[in-house]
């Protein structure tokens, strides 16, 4: 064994070029996997370790109304009398500073908040002093950035509802503010004791009441939540409006936000690994080709086949292990850069570090994966016979059906490994298998196209002059290597061109929905009696109030006579006791331009009446119906302001939420909501940018309770988040491209060496160095150009399919990146060929005689 290791090491160290290219290839391919694994690992570890701090409690009771005395008593009794309790009331409201009025999230807290986590203040303030000041006087706590948006300084006053408050403290970080980029409006803290003065706690305000509990260290919060839920259900029925939130819910919510994107990034990193594996297999093929004779010599001298197999397996594993080590180092170096792409999206205190599990997986994948990727080539060792040493003239024979079947079977372990890796990254075996299958299909398509084009080269060579004849012939003759170059370039280009293509369509649609006018403001909490004055207000300023829609909060009681909580449990197969039952209902005479009925009949225009004894019509948003597990014809009982009414789903609607128009999951037939107390939503379009501040200020002055969402600002925010997320995707795509380029470099280099005798022969026969160089450069430039063109065209098709399947057919032709790649790839390939051939051309043709 020691001898074999020595022999293996000697071989690796003597073939530095192969070793280096093999290592760089695999290291680059594994680096993306390493970075994504470590990024996700760091984030998950952070979330796991800070869930209580993010929730600020072990358990939270949440409701859109104040908890009843009975509910408070039950919660106290069930969650240990000694549990520490804190309260919070939060809502969105317009807030007016000295010059600017804007929507803000008002968070009123008591003296015990937060039960976990803490505020980090700007300046040396004691938390107890801050809370005490907030309790005693009308004082506010906010971040410096929030103050800046309202044009405020410490000591300035801010009008919230009817009362004025003083900006007293700034914080750098608040306990719940881990994912601030996703917030709709800036947060302003004040005391519950001072909230009443604002006059904003009244009907129509969408307020969230929270009661936080900190249990003793030995308590099981999840079990306590289940017990409490049962006890609350006993008094309020199974569809009570109090929701219990635990750290598990926070984990699920944050994990979902981060998980989706991590999944895409992870799969993008798999493309790099796939390309690296392909290139490694090619390099090993060339390396092994030269080692077959040595294997035959060893077999002849007394080595058994197991020793020969071990020698090369060991070599591959050592190389794979070294590549994995390099990729870990590369990952360690890239991780901070990668983290910077997510600034503002991930928690500011998150410290990105190498994930031990990812390190282990990378080492295992590197060590075993290198062998699996090279298995089809490695199997050739089984066919080596020492007899070949006496019959060297015998060339390779074409593999028969058995040989082809064996070759196909030898690809399976590598594919299985890719499936498992993709499954671990996407969190689903189905998605992992689908991704790998997609990749294989793509490679097959590229291989077929390459095969067709390369076969055609033979035909073109017949009609060409000498230089072009050699170019076409070389392309045709070396189909395996040229095909590998084609596939490597095309796969990488496809990914690189796909990301900006999808991003472009998405950005365009967010900022300017096709066929629709994006509103400038979205108004919420409009009271019934404010409809007419509001219309008049906007008419007076030359603007028009549009899409005015009523909104009534209610609960779904049952579906097809099954209690709603049980229904959801049946549909999802998981415990759904803590899910929300309250929803917003609306009704409208005709559908908005942003919605279309995709299934069923329109809601009847005639008003529904209680006396009819018939269920009223319900129009449900398509994806919402999937989430609830309901469909056309299902009957639902809804509780609207304490009255239970039965309706039937008559149609499913598709809603374009990016239109920012007042849209609802459930629209009820006209007449159902007539007698219910309701608020309204509306939108305003065509407000010039320079008028915006003035319009909002006047609106806040006149209608203090109406909240105004600046849609253009929200679009900017979404665009910013999308840009940050796609930047990281581009990062992965370019990593795949780098791997693709290294693959081309490796293949070009090997090709140049393989053709050394042929090149020398051409020179001996009188071909100039310039012509030979030109031939090689043209070959690779043509390959690069053809692969890039194929991939770019296919990427348009793929991006259209992705847009059609995932993004509601949002697609826009983006030609810039395609054109850039089409121009750059042939030049890059030609340059690679130039460098690869250079060292061969510098040798003397006399080598042919040696």
């Amino acid at each position: 064994m020691k001898f074999l290791l020595r022999l293996s090491w000697r071989d690796i160290s003597r073939n530095r070029r192969f070793t280096l290219l093999f290592l760089v290839n695999l290291a680059l391919g594994l680096a993306g996997f390493m970075v994504i694994g470590s990024f996700s690992g760091s984030l998950n570890r952070y979330l796991d370790g800070n869930l209580k701090e993010i929730l600020t409690a072990d358990l939270v009771l949440q409701s859109s109304r104040p908890l009843t005395k009975q509910e408070i008593e039950i919660s106290r009794a069930m969650l240990q009398p000694e549990a520490r309790i804190s309260q919070q009331i939060s809502f969105y409201s317009m807030v007016k500073g000295s010059t600017v009025a804007k929507l803000a999230q008002i968070v009123a807290i008591d003296g015990a908040y937060p039960l976990y986590g803490s505020f980090r203040y700007t300046g040396s303030f004691a938390h107890s002093r801050v809370l005490n000041d907030l309790q005693q006087e009308r004082k506010l706590l906010m971040s410096r950035e929030t103050a800046r948006t309202f044009d405020l300084q410490l000591g300035d006053t801010l009008k919230i509802g009817q009362a004025e408050y003083q900006v007293a403290f700034f914080y750098e970080q608040d306990p719940e503010g881990e994912f601030t980029a996703l917030e709709l409006a800036p947060k302003i803290y004040l005391s519950i004791a001072q909230l009443g003065d604002s006059g904003l706690i009244r009907f129509g305000s969408r307020i969230t009441y929270k009661r936080f509990f900190r249990l003793s260290a030995s308590s099981d919060a999840a079990a306590a939540a289940v017990g409490l839920n049962k006890a609350l259900a006993a008094v309020a029925g199974e569809n009570g409006s109090v929701r219990i939130v635990t750290t598990k819910d926070v984990n699920r919510r944050l994990g979902r936000v981060v998980g989706y994107f991590g999944k895409f990034l992870g799969l993008a990193s798999m493309v790099a690994l796939f390309l690296a594996g392909m290139s490694a297999a090619y390099l090993f093929r060339e390396h092994l080709q030269a080692r077959l004779k040595e294997t035959a010599i060893m077999l002849c001298l007394g080595a058994n086949r197991r020793q020969c197999l071990l020698l090369h397996a060991g070599q591959l594993s050592v190389l794979g292990f070294l590549a994995a080590c390099m990729s870990i180092f590369l990952g360690w170096w890239l991780l901070p850069l990668f983290g910077r792409l997510f600034t503002g999206i991930i928690p500011p205190n998150l410290h990105l570090m190498l994930d031990p599990i990812s390190v282990i997986i990378t080492l295992v994948v590197g060590t075993i994966g290198s062998l699996l990727f090279c298995l089809p080539v490695y199997l050739r060792l089984f066919t080596v016979q020492p007899l070949q040493l006496l019959h060297e003239q015998r060339g390779d024979t074409e593999p028969g059906i058995k040989g082809m079947a064996l070759l196909g079977a030898s690809l399976l372990p590598a594919l299985a490994m890719l499936v498992l890796l993709a499954a671990s990254l996407s969190g689903s075996l189905y998605q992992g298998a689908l991704f790998t299958a997609g990749l294989v299909v793509l490679v097959v398509i590229f291989s077929l196209i390459a095969g067709l084009l390369l076969n055609r080269c033979r035909h073109w060579s017949r009609k060409s002059g000498l230089t072009w004849k050699i170019v076409w012939r070389n392309l045709h003759r070396n189909r395996l290597s040229t095909g590998a170059v084609f596939v490597a370039i095309a796969t990488a280009v496809l990914l690189v061109n796909l990301v900006p293509q999808v991003e472009n369509g998405l950005m365009a649609e967010i900022g300017r929905p096709e066929g629709m006018e994006l509103p400038v403001f979205f108004l919420i909490d409009i009271q019934e009696e404010q409809q007419q004055p509001l219309r008049a207000f906007f008419q007076g300023s030359g603007h028009e109030l549009s899409s005015l829609a009523p909104m009534v909060r209610g609960r779904i009681v049952s579906v097809n006579s099954v209690p709603f909580s049980k229904w959801r449990q049946q549909q999802s197969g998981v415990d759904a006791v803590f899910r929300r039952t309250e929803f917003n209902f609306s009704s409208r005479e005709q559908l908005d331009a942003s919605e279309t009925v995709v299934k069923g009949l329109p809601v009847r225009p005639t008003p529904w009446s209680w006396e009819s004894g018939q269920p009223f019509d319900i129009s449900m948003e398509e994806q919402f119906s999937e989430r609830l597990g309901v469909t056309l014809g299902d009957r639902m009982v809804v509780d609207i302001q304490g009255i239970e009414l039965e309706g039937q789903i008559v149609n499913l609607r598709k809603v374009r939420w990016n239109s920012f128009q007042p849209n609802f999951f459930m629209l009820l037939q006209k007449g159902v909501l007539d007698d219910a107390p309701k608020t309204y939503l509306a939108s305003i379009s065509r407000v010039a940018p320079e008028e915006k501040i003035q319009v909002v200020n006047r609106l806040a002055e006149r209608f203090a309770n109406i909240s105004v969402i600046d849609v253009t600002r929200t679009v900017e925010l979404l665009g910013d988040i999308t840009a940050k997320l796609t930047r990281s995707l581009r990062f992965m795509a370019w990593l795949a491209m780098a791997t693709g380029v290294v693959a081309v470099v490796s293949i070009a280099r090997q090709e140049a060496l393989r053709r050394e005798r042929e090149i020398n022969l051409l020179r001996v026969l009188g071909a100039g160095v310039g012509r030979i160089r030109m031939i090689t450069m043209m070959e690779f430039a043509l390959l690069g150009g053809a692969a890039a063109l194929t991939a770019i065209l296919l990427s348009y098709g793929c991006s259209y399919t992705v847009a059609w399947l995932l993004f509601d057919r949002i697609w826009q032709f983006q030609w810039q990146s395609g054109l850039l790649l089409l121009g750059a790839l042939p030049i890059t390939c030609a340059m690679i060929a130039f460098l690869a051939i250079d060292s061969v051309l510098r040798r003397k043709p006399v080598a042919l005689l040696s």
Binding site: D11, L299, C300, G302, P386, L387, L390
Partner: protein, 220 residues
Amino acid sequence: MLIEVENLHKAYPLPESGSLQVLTGAAFSLSAGATLAITGQSGSGKSTLIALLAGLDRPESGRVVVSGVELTTLREAELTRFRAENIGIIFQQFHLMPHLTAEENISLPLELMRRPCTREKIDAILDKVGLSARRDHLPGQLSGGECQRVAIARALIVDPVVLLADEPTGNLDVATGREVSDLLFDLVNRENMTMIVVTHNQELAGRCSQQLRLEQGLLQ
């Protein structure tokens, strides 16, 4: 007899159909210490015969007995072991491991068999083939003659019962070829070894104690 070959038949399948009969009942025997030259035209089956004698290939029928062991009955692993311990092979194209030095190439068979490989033994064999000064050179840094000397040393290091040489001077110029054949016969005679040489070279063949000509698959 040290080597007994009886009624050897060997054919190779042709790409389209049928087969090419290379050996048709070849037979001979050789006593210990004898040297035998097998000559014949290109494609007459000389290399096939040496492959069968070395246990690198198996005949369709017939027997090859070396030192009382019938090679055709041995399993692959047994055959490998027997070859490593009893048969030294010298190839026309040397077949040295390019990344191992002369010394490492020579010690390779012993390492593969996990047999002790002393410095003295290597020194002695290097001295015998006149390559003491070139022990640390790679094959690429040696001349053709020197490469073949390394190959001879590698074949002799295991003290084989029989030495098989396939055109040992075929890749060398006349003068170097003569030097190598001098060395080879000197070593063989000194150690009283048994050797079978396949060659076109009449001068080389003439130095052997026995000669056979392979024609139409038969030894004459």
